[in-house]
């Protein structure tokens, strides 16, 4: 009986390794600096994770379908530049389009449309022309960056686009306080996105088809799954999320330039994989993606907080990511 319960604990530990890992990480940080343990910290981490979660939700679907997307960052950048250029305060010294006074949603929707279109084209290449996702997204990211640079140069004169409208930045930077915890509007939006994507993944045919395509594309085809149609929709969904997150990522920084978003794809995909989404396709959960994003953000925040120097931060971040995934790998090898 004794032995059995020890085993149970071990099994429990292995099965929830990623949560335990997060917990241990927090414990270590708190030991190093007890002031970490505060509502402020929680609020900040929630605020910082919001846009990253939105990107990760987008790319997770593509990974589950067996792909990758190296264009996340550049699409985010384009969305940020676009929406920022259309949402400047009229009294800013360097307004790009003076006299413009669009409702907040119009530029955001525009940015989302553009990224959805970009992702759609990528989807066409992957699903119809059978270009490997690695290349289609790499090529796309180059093109998107080029376009972004031209726009940035032509309209913004290659100067960072600042002076964003209050109502725009407020979404990312402001929020409300519940029991002392500051929750930003963007966090609410991110949570809403997570819920929506959860519904899509688990409660719609589209989601089932996504898993089917990632699980075995040939079986999916035979089973009457319209592979390219479903892929396209998932790509569009990803694009919409990049656009949404991108627009508000600009708002969060209060400005946008053509570097914004650079290599975000790595962080987004790393979060997914840390959260148990398999790069081989067919496997992943929303809870996993969320926990992955949080772990990465706790690393980023925590390492600065406990005053690790910049170069050691790289090492620590790398090591922590590896440890997290090793724990997860242990679980997988135990289950089957």
């Amino acid at each position: 009986m004794q032995k059995f319960s020890a085993k149970t604990v071990y099994r429990f530990a292995v099965h929830n390794s990623i949560y335990i890992f997060l917990f241990l990480m927090l414990v270590v940080i708190v030991i190093m600096d007890p002031s970490f343990l505060s509502l402020t910290t929680l609020g900040i981490i929630m605020g910082q994770s919001a846009s990253k979660l939105i990107f990760a939700l987008g790319v997770a679907g593509l990974i589950i379908m067996g792909g990758v997307d190296l264009s996340v960052g550049r699409q985010v950048g384009l969305a940020a530049v676009l929406s920022a250029s259309l949402l400047q305060a009229p009294d800013y010294f360097n307004v790009i389009f003076p006299g413009l006074n669009l409702p907040l949603l119009v530029p955001v929707a525009l940015a989302m449309t553009v990224t959805a279109l970009i992702s759609f084209v990528q989807g066409i290449m992957v699903s119809k022309i059978k270009v490997p996702p690695f290349i289609s997204s790499l090529g796309t990211s180059l093109i998107v960056y080029g376009v972004c640079c031209i726009y940035y140069d032509k309209f913004a004169g290659s100067a960072p686009i600042g002076g964003l409208r209050e109502d725009f930045t407020a979404v990312s930077q402001q929020g409300f306080t519940v029991l002392g915890l500051k929750i930003s509007y963007l966090f609410i939006i991110a949570m809403f996105c997570a819920f929506l994507v959860w519904v899509i993944w688990n409660k719609t045919t589209l989601g089932k088809n996504m898993f089917a395509i990632g699980g075995n594309v040939n079986s999916a085809k035979v089973s009457g799954v319209n592979v390219s149609k479903n892929m396209l929709i998932m790509y569009i969904l990803a694009g919409l999320l990049y656009g949404l997150g991108g627009a508000f990522e600009g708002a969060r920084t209060g400005s946008a330039s053509n570097v914004l978003g650079q290599s975000y794809e790595l962080d987004a995909m790393a979060a997914c994989v840390v959260g148990g989404v398999s790069m081989k396709g067919g496997v992943g959960t929303i809870a996993g993606v969320i926990i992955g994003v949080i772990i990465l953000q706790v690393i980023n925040y925590g390492l600065v907080f406990v005053r690790v120097s910049a170069d050691v931060q790289y090492i620590a971040k790398g090591a922590i990511i590896l440890l997290a995934v090793m724990a997860d790998a242990k679980k997988r090898s135990m289950i089957d």
Binding site: D33, S35, S38, T40, T41, I44, G47, Q48, S51, F93, N94, C149, Y152, D153, G157, S158, A159, P160, I161, G162, G163, T169, Q173, E249, R252, T253, G254, S255, A256, S257, N258, V259, L260, Q262, S263, N300, Y301, V304, F305, R307, S309, A310, D311, Q313
Partner: protein, 348 residues
């Protein structure tokens, strides 16, 4: 290193009088805690700003002036904001920022303002109204176009004096420019600076090509290989947005034996010998040590609630209109190389 002997000129301010608080100070807690400074730099991969960073660290370490922590924003404006969030949550006494994105400075200032701590910008200047929006912010550095103008002036002067040869004898200055990151404010400004001077000087010039090498030595090498292969006899000079790239160009020149002069900006120690030997034409120095010292002194003054310029010993000017400490740029050639050597001495 050589840093140990130097900053005797400015005594650490808080050793003078612990006069900050009005309320009766608890007497026994003596070994006065050093103020903590959070610094974020836009990229560890940038050589020139690394010198400023090291200058700051060395200056602080030598005088045991503060506790400083440095984070690398990896060229990501959002990450930089996050680092500032973290610093503020952690309770630092002041922020030093080499911004990724100058337009994001307003967000940073807002955050610093809310926390009531000073924020000092170094190297890239935010817009004036941001600098004026908070009494505990200031900028140390120089207006963007100046370096480019100096570099242009150097080329014009030496073209006119014949020191830059007209290699194809057509009376036109043919040159190529290798620039930093696409859309990078410095890169843009330096090209504009060059152009302003060329136009004003009335010389005949032709830019054969301009290519982006993203501040990267290897990329600059690749690009210059193409140029020297294409115009081996026409190129009169290659203008580089900074020295790191110029190093790559020089390597191609050495390799191909085609003798084309190169000018750069920053005047990094790596090029000093080459300037002396004439292998490298010249560069523009914006003194990293002065920037570092100014940045630290200003920060400490602000922390201690003193006037910005209390105990000011730096040979720099304050531009009230822009709320900026201006570092002046200097053209460096073989003759005045010692200035550059001096400037970098304490920044390694």
């Amino acid at each position: 290193t050589q840093t140990a002997q130097q900053p005797s000129e400015s005594a650490p301010p808080e050793q003078e009088q612990p006069q900050k608080s009005e309320e009766p100070a608890p007497v026994e807690e003596e070994p006065a805690e050093l103020p903590s400074i959070g610094m974020t730099v836009y990229s560890y991969a940038n050589t020139y700003t690394s010198y400023i960073r090291k200058g700051i660290q060395n200056y602080i370490a030598a005088g045991n002036l503060a506790e400083i922590q440095v984070a690398d924003a990896e060229n990501d404006a959002a990450k930089q904001i996050e680092q500032i969030d973290t610093y503020i949550a952690q309770g630092v006494d002041a922020l030093i920022v080499m911004p990724v994105d100058t337009a994001a400075a307003s967000t940073m200032v807002d955050k610093a303002k809310a926390a009531g701590i000073p924020i000092i910008f170094v190297n890239k200047r935010p817009s004036v109204d941001v600098l004026k929006s908070y009494d505990k912010t200031i900028f140390v550095g120089l207006p963007l176009v100046v370096s480019g103008e100096m570099q242009g002036q150097m080329v014009v002067d030496h073209w006119n004096s014949g020191k830059i040869a007209d290699r194809n004898g057509d009376g036109v200055l043919q040159f190529c420019t290798v620039t930093g990151d696409l859309g990078h404010p410095d890169a843009e400004a330096r090209v504009v600076g060059n152009r302003n001077v060329f136009d004003a000087s009335g010389i005949k010039y032709e830019e054969l090509d301009r290519q982006v090498a993203s501040w990267d030595t290897t990329k600059a090498k690749d690009v210059s290989e193409i140029w020297l292969g294409k115009w081996p006899n026409d190129l009169d000079i290659i203008i580089s947005n900074n020295d790191a790239m110029a190093l790559g160009v020089l390597e191609t020149i050495k390799q191909t034996g085609i003798d084309v002069p190169v000018v750069g900006i920053n005047c990094l120690p790596q090029v000093h010998d080459m300037i002396r030997s004439g292998e490298y034409f010249g560069s523009v120095l914006s003194d990293p040590w002065k920037q570092a010292k100014a940045a630290v002194d200003l920060t400490l003054n602000a922390i201690n609630g003193k006037d910005w310029f209390d105990g000011n010993e730096w040979e720099v000017e304050y531009n009230a209109e822009e709320n900026s400490i201006r570092i002046t740029d200097i053209m460096i050639t073989a003759e005045n190389l010692h200035l550059a050597e001096e400037a970098y001495k304490n920044c390694t």
